[in-house]
Amino acid sequence: EAGVAQSPRYKIIEKRQSVAFWCNPISGHATLYWYQQILGQGPKLLIQFQNNGVVDDSQLPKDRFSAERLKGVDSTLKIQPAKLEDSAVYLCASSLGDVWGETQYFGPGTRLLVL
């Protein structure tokens, strides 16, 4: 079974530029999560999709971050414009359904450096 795929793996941009990350979840997984992991911290949930609907985006900085999940499969997370404090690893995860307590499967992450 193929795992969660993410691209790019690394990205360096200057502040005020825009950037987009892509995620392809495990086939058949209905729930998709985007996390931000700042160095030395645990993951912080940015947005959670159930199929192509948003379940939770309470911690997404909506003035600069946006995310979509077209057709309930792939997802894209965008930052526009980027700030220095956005430097982090962006993790995508997926789970089979929306069952409480189920395992989340993570991708390798995209490491973003904003200069």
């Binding site: 030395g40 645990g42 993951p43 395992t103 989340q104």
Partner: protein, 115 residues
């Protein structure tokens, strides 16, 4: 507020020895799930072990086991016969009922297994 505390930012252990990572959490919920996730250097996060709060029996997974003390709100991870491949960040997380199934994460413990 619901929180997870991992009081050991860094730990080290000799290969083949046993190490215990601590985790405490705070919640008023009676039902929840607890997790230990492992994040090796530059590799993706994977689930190590999962515990359901209403189950009194401690979960085990090969060399990994937990000591779940519900009254004390403690969920420690024991790694037996440590291997070099166990070197990683270990995150404790829990999913309380009624939290929109969102995981609450600790800051992690960096474990180094020395040859």
């Amino acid at each position: 507020a619901q929180t997870v505390t991992q009081s050991q930012p860094e730990m080290s252990v000799q290969e083949a020895e046993t190490v215990t990572l601590s985790c405490t959490y705070d919640t008023s919920e009676n039902n929840y799930y607890l997790f230990w996730y492992k994040q090796p250097p530059s590799r993706q996060m994977i689930l190590v072990i999962r515990q359901e709060a209403y189950k009194q029996q401690n979960a085990t997974e090969n060399r990994f086991s937990v000591n779940f003390q519900k009254a004390a709100k403690s969920f420690s991870l024991k790694i037996s016969d440590s291997q070099l491949g166990d070197t990683a960040m270990y995150f404790c997380a829990f999913a309380p009922a009624g939290n929109n199934r969102k995981l609450i994460w600790g800051l992690g413990t960096s474990l180094a297994v020395n040859p």
